[in-house]
């Protein structure tokens, strides 16, 4: 009898193992899909162009998109709670303007950079308070934040402000070489650190697990006694702080601040996060996925540069990819719902 049982369970296990793997790691599947697309794009480009994948090019993708990577990490937190943050592009632009103006007045960058981060955090907190305490929809609340930051950027100055502060320019100008063309700038290191910290926060802290719980089902999370209000507020603060940090990085990247910087960046960020496999309904997704999403975005831009066609194709391709991913996610969700 024991032997038949073992045989049975053995058989069962054999049948269900791939299924069980799928079920247990269902939320990773979109991330794998994003990795697959990234690899396919790289291989395709390599075959088409011949000399595509050089260390210099791979390094430049991180360099050119480090601000987007930071924004995407913050956005992941908000989307995981089931919200959305439209203010990130404008906050990045405004903190950049503010920082550049403060630097011009002679303040040291060791004071200015934390101020920029704090400003972003405060705007994020404002959005979070509207969402959490006044039941304003995240879309509208962050829209107000976006309008506010965009307008305040123009209040600082209508023209672009050049940044000459050495420490800020050092962030971008220093290229840490690592043989045969590989290089990384301090901005890239900061972005990767943000990814690391974000992933760690989500995976290993009480706050991170609560973020998933709130996004999965806010009502249940509340009934479980989890600090829902505090967690949602914090998610927006994280996003705002990331936007402030992105302001520092973007200022270093362009060497100047301009109030029209970052228009439409919030859409690029959301697209990158969704392509990276985070469900917009909340509760499922990973910071690492968002990083892959940003790389997909950067790769599309690079390939379109290589092809030499009109840059408007970038937006069209991003739109098409976004659609593809949303449909795929929709199928996955529908399938798991049916199984339940």
């Amino acid at each position: 009898m024991t032997s038949t049982q073992t045989v049975l369970t053995g058989e069962l296990r054999a049948v269900t193992r791939p299924h069980r793997f799928m079920a247990r790691h269902a939320s990773w599947i979109p991330v794998f899909a994003a990795v697959g697309i990234l690899v396919a794009m790289v291989v395709g480009a390599q075959l088409y162009f011949g000399k595509f994948l050089t260390p210099r090019l791979v390094s430049s993708i991180l360099l050119d998109n480090s601000y987007l990577l930071i924004l995407a990490v913050g956005m992941t937190f908000v989307i995981l709670t089931g919200g959305i943050d439209l203010s990130v592009g404008a906050v990045m632009s405004f903190t950049g303007m503010m920082g550049a103006s403060l630097l011009r007045q002679g303040l040291p960058s060791s004071v200015v950079a934390p101020t920029m981060l704090a400003t972003g955090a405060v705007i994020g907190l404002g959005v979070g308070v509207l969402v959490q305490y006044f039941d304003v929809q995240p879309f509208i609340a962050s829209l107000a934040g976006m309008f506010l930051a965009r307008g305040l950027g123009f209040v600082v100055s209508l023209n672009s402000i050049k940044v000459t502060d050495p420490p800020i320019l050092w962030l971008q100008g220093t290229r840490l070489q690592a043989g045969s063309g590989w290089y990384i700038t301090p901005t890239g290191i900061i972005a990767l650190l943000v990814v690391l910290v974000g992933a760690g926060l989500l995976a290993y802290t009480r706050f991170g697990r609560t973020v998933y719980a709130v996004g999965g089902n806010e009502q249940s999370a509340r009934l479980m006694g989890l600090p829902v209000a505090r967690t949602k507020l914090l998610a927006y603060v994280v996003s705002g702080t990331c936007a402030g940090l992105a302001g520092v990085i973007f200022t270093a990247y362009t060497g100047a601040a301009y109030p029209l910087n970052g228009i439409g960046t919030e859409l690029d960020t959301i697209a990158a996060v969704v392509i990276g496999g985070t469900l917009l309904t909340g509760g499922s997704g990973f910071v690492v996925g968002s990083m892959i999403g940003v790389f997909v975005y950067g790769m599309i831009k690079t390939i379109i540069n290589f092809l030499g066609v009109d840059q408007s194709w970038t937006r069209i391709t991003i739109g098409a990819l976004l659609l593809l991913f949303v449909v795929v996610q929709r199928l996955i969700v529908a399938r798991s719902a049916r199984r339940r």
């Binding site: 305490y133 304003v136 929809q137 829209l143 107000a144 976006m146 506010l148 969704v274 408007s312 929709r330």
Partner: protein
């Protein structure tokens, strides 16, 4: 007081009052060559594209959706129409104009049908489904105009946004017609009620025999169609198809107008009259800001203030909070006079 249009109308009247007090010329309307001129007439004329877009947005929001792509759709329809006119080389030919206008409107309708397909048939979240077109639409418009800003010189086309009929701007008649048509279709047939039913509970209304899918699809198609018209008006106003600037941020203005008019973003009950009031409020606000000598670029700060104010007024929790505060104040004033003095 309890009428739901009360607050939107009060806000609009207050804005007009402030304007009139700070510059009495605001309400004055002069007649020149049988045409009316003045700030109020400008508001009527300039609000036409926003009016069309906001009407469509009202229907979409009533189904518990949102349409972020309207600005991009405007860019596409303007680009299609102007490119046809430019390529024909005969900008005054009525048949060319008719084809161009028809094609522009059709482009808008196709965009709307596409959104509706993604949302009603594939079941994708509205915010994301329309985000796809919002991202891709401007790219498509740029492809149509081949990366340039297409400019044309055609008096009949110019007439749409800048012409006058019986003393009033033609664009105003366009928005009037749109309001009338949408109101008749939605309110003189059962469609409006069915739309509200779908917005309140799609599943329940489907079980009750309402064809929810068709109604949602139709709402997005209508929004696309109206955005198509708006794109034509916009391009006629500047006589150019600028794929990057056409309808930039108009989706936000439109959503704001709908919310200002008292339609909840949660779907269900909607108010077309409220949207009309909301559109005029936003247009008046913009003209106020310009008049105050604030650089147009700083306008968003005021918009942010208005958005926050409006959503706070609509938030039941905020109203309860204010009510409690008011209650506490009145309780305190009911107490003996000395206590009040100490407290203050």
């Amino acid at each position: 007081m309890k009428h739901r249009l009360f607050w939107p109308v009060v806000v609009l009247l207050a804005l007009i009052l402030v304007n009139t007090l700070s510059r009495p010329s605001f309400v004055s309307i002069t007649v020149q060559d049988g045409r009316l001129y003045g700030s109020l007439i400008d508001i009527l004329r300039n609000s036409a594209p926003l009016m069309l877009v906001a009407l469509g947005m009202t229907l979409v929001i009533a189904t518990r959706g949102i349409d972020l792509s309207v600005g991009a759709v405007m860019a596409v329809s303007g680009a299609v129409a102007l490119q046809i006119i430019q390529d024909s080389g005969d900008a005054a030919n009525p048949s060319v104009l008719a084809v161009a206008i028809g094609a522009g409107v059709l482009a808008g309708l196709v965009c709307g049908l596409w959104n509706g397909f993604l949302i009603a048939v594939l079941g994708i979240q509205p915010i994301i489904a329309t985000l796809v077109l919002m991202l891709a639409g401007r790219g498509i418009a740029l492809l149509i105009t081949r990366g340039f800003i297409t400019t044309i010189n055609s008096d009949p086309y110019k007439f749409m946004a800048q012409g006058y009929v019986v003393g009033l701007p033609f664009a105003f008649y366009v928005s009037l017609a749109a309001i009338a048509i949408v109101a008749v279709i939605e309110r003189r047939t059962a469609l409006g009620v069915l739309t509200e039913a779908v917005g309140i509970n799609p599943e329940a209304s489907r079980l009750a025999g309402v064809r929810a899918r068709g109604i949602i699809w139709g709402a997005y198609a209508a929004s696309g169609l109206l955005a198509g018209f708006a794109g034509l008006l916009y391009s006629s106003n500047i006589m150019a198809a600028d794929a990057n600037a056409a309808g930039l941020y108009i989706e936000l203005d439109a959503i704001l107008a709908v919310v200002l008019g008292g339609t909840s973003l949660a779907g269900g009950t909607f108010s077309l009259a409220g949207t009309v009031v909301g559109v005029f409020t936003i247009q008046t606000l913009k003209s106020t800001i310009t008049f105050l000598g604030v650089p147009p670029a700083v306008t968003p700060v005021f918009m942010a203030a208005v958005v926050v104010l409006v959503v706070l007024i609509q938030s039941s929790r905020f109203r309860r909070w204010v009510g409690r505060l008011g209650g506490r104040l009145s309780a305190r004033s009911a107490q003996p006079v000395e206590r009040t003095e100490v407290a203050s």
